[in-house]
Symmetry: C2
Subunit: 341 residues, 2 copies
């Protein structure tokens, strides 16, 4: 739950972001079922293609793009095409991740591949990837200079590549028993933090910001993304299932997250049971592992890393002149990470 001021910011932006996304997705005539898959995944349609308003995530990335544009003195409206592009890119990666990870549900609904099969879902993801690029091209129509659009494409496609490198590492980790804590940090840098950093930098580019400001906002986004992922990892082991919405601990799924990897490097018992023994973990063993991971310093290390990433994010904001938007960015970071200050 966001505080009232931030909720108001989101309310101000989200209608316009979603209108822009719909405009891109529905700009060309498409076969009905093809169009339905795209709108379904985005939460705009049910599986028959009828309009609906299904849960579609918090749209944090495109809101960051708009706030970063404002924080650099720009009008958030000129950043709408870029914001839509970022959110479409995020959704492309979700469609494919769901296939790759065999996830059957997303946001309480069956995933695209579960409903329409893998082949169609791979292709629908590819379509979303193309649409993300077409969305970014609309910046030119919204008044951005061509040179500025080319700069945005550089950031956008370098980020796409980083996403795939991150996902490659994540998929590789599943079959490996020797993943290091450093490799894990490289993976989430690509898979999670790169896109959030790009959302921020591109927002700055929309405002024709000075490079120092664009870089500061990219650093803010990267720190926020890392801190958010690390917090998610900590909650996945020690969080209250009722409030995280997860049915079971990440430990039961043998997820290789920072606390576990850090502990496995220090406590052979953690390493052997988690990586060396394929039998399913009992509830009792999960409890024992949780304790050992904590004793080996896995929790405090992850907390320290999250703390550092958060501090870097907040500190980067100081490079920008004070503004309501800058304050909203800091506030958003605080609230996403449940910080009191």
């Amino acid at each position: 739950m966001l505080s009232d001021p931030l909720a108001a910011t989101f309310a101000r932006f989200i209608g316009a972001i979603e209108a822009e996304m719909r405009a891109v997705v529905n700009a060309t005539a498409q076969p009905a079922r093809f169009n339905t898959m795209l709108n379904y995944h985005l939460g705009f349609a049910d599986e028959q293609g009828q309009p609906t308003h299904a849960p579609a995530g918090k749209r944090i990335r495109p809101v960051l793009t708009l706030l970063c544009c404002e924080a650099c003195g720009g009008d958030w409206r000129v950043a709408l095409p870029a914001a839509a592009a970022i959110e479409l890119l995020h959704n492309f990666s979700l469609i494919h991740d769901d296939i790759e990870d065999r996830d059957e549900m997303r946001r309480g609904r069956p995933t695209v591949w579960k409903l329409w099969g893998e082949a169609q879902a791979i292709n629908a993801g590819d379509a979303m990837f193309a649409l993300a690029h077409l969305a970014l091209l609309r910046c030119a129509e919204a008044g951005a200079a061509s040179a500025q659009v080319v700069r945005m494409f550089h950031v956008f496609d370098e980020t796409c590549l980083q996403l795939t490198v991150g996902q490659h590492l994540d998929l590789s980790f599943e079959s490996r028993s020797d993943v290091s804590a450093d490799e894990y940090l490289a993976m989430i840098g690509g898979k999670t933090a790169a896109l959030i950093a790009a959302a921020c930098r591109i927002g700055a580019l929309c405002a024709n910001a000075a490079e120092a400001h664009a870089e500061a906002l990219e650093t803010f986004g990267r720190g926020l993304g890392l801190a958010f992922q690390l917090q998610d990892d900590i909650l996945g082991i020690w969080g209250d299932p009722a409030s995280t919405g997860k049915h079971s601990s990440d430990l039961a799924h043998r997820k290789k997250t920072l606390p576990v990897l850090f502990a496995a490097e220090r406590d052979p018992a953690v390493r052997d049971r988690y990586f060396g023994d394929p039998r399913p973990l009992t509830a009792e063993e999960i409890e024992l592992l949780r304790t050992r991971i904590e004793h080996a310093g896995g929790r405090s290390h992850a907390e320290k890393m999250a703390e550092q990433a958060y501090a870097q994010a907040i500190s980067a904001l100081h490079a920008l002149p004070p503004s309501n938007a800058r304050e909203s960015l800091a506030q958003l970071a605080r609230e996403l990470l449940n910080r009191s200050a």
Copy 2:
């Protein structure tokens, strides 16, 4: 086999195209296995990542880009990044098509998904998609004005979207028994002709061509693509297996190509046996179907359509001033389609 003059043209271009592709693919540090998958699919590496020169297709699309640039008075070297982008985009779609169609072999080697699994292959295709875009951005470094690069991105990403629409239709056809000949033509328009048309238009844009010339070359590419696909369909039923390289007739796989669909609309016996009866077709039945399809006009209709598409392609070239490059384009079309004139 190409004639000597065309073989010389290909020899002149292909080394430079492949050098540009390698430069893009290997521009950033990547995990070894990730980089191997990309280079393996492109024919540059074996599955251990060792350099090799495996069959990698004829590279017709990027050669078209360079010839179209020349035909509009440009230096083919400035079109190299765009040519590499087109070939990388084509290869992205092949990686995903192989997964979607469950094809285990491509150009005599196991497909990426067969070697590294589906999840990694989906992701490698996504990486190739991002790299295709990064390749196109190198046009700016090769001297293209930003406005020109933005125009190329429009063509490029509209084409990506058309590819996915074409593939969606193709996948949908598999489970349908009521595909019309018109729907088939729409499908190959997206799946095959759109990218060849784009390869030609983008070549023209690299030369800063007048819109009339760019449009003429796009029309040339679309006609060539359609004619080529239709000829492939005809050979898939009536061709000599020894020279087509196909192990068995398209009929055995119940492929829905134009000759069959046209005949099925006219001969209920074709329709019922092909679509209504799931039992595998015997060699005798295939022979009988082949004859009935021909009698119902399926072959002559497809030949007529291919003929028309070819004539449109050749006729479009007349909008351009005479040049060696224009003659090479006409010659390439003739030879690809085995025309004597």
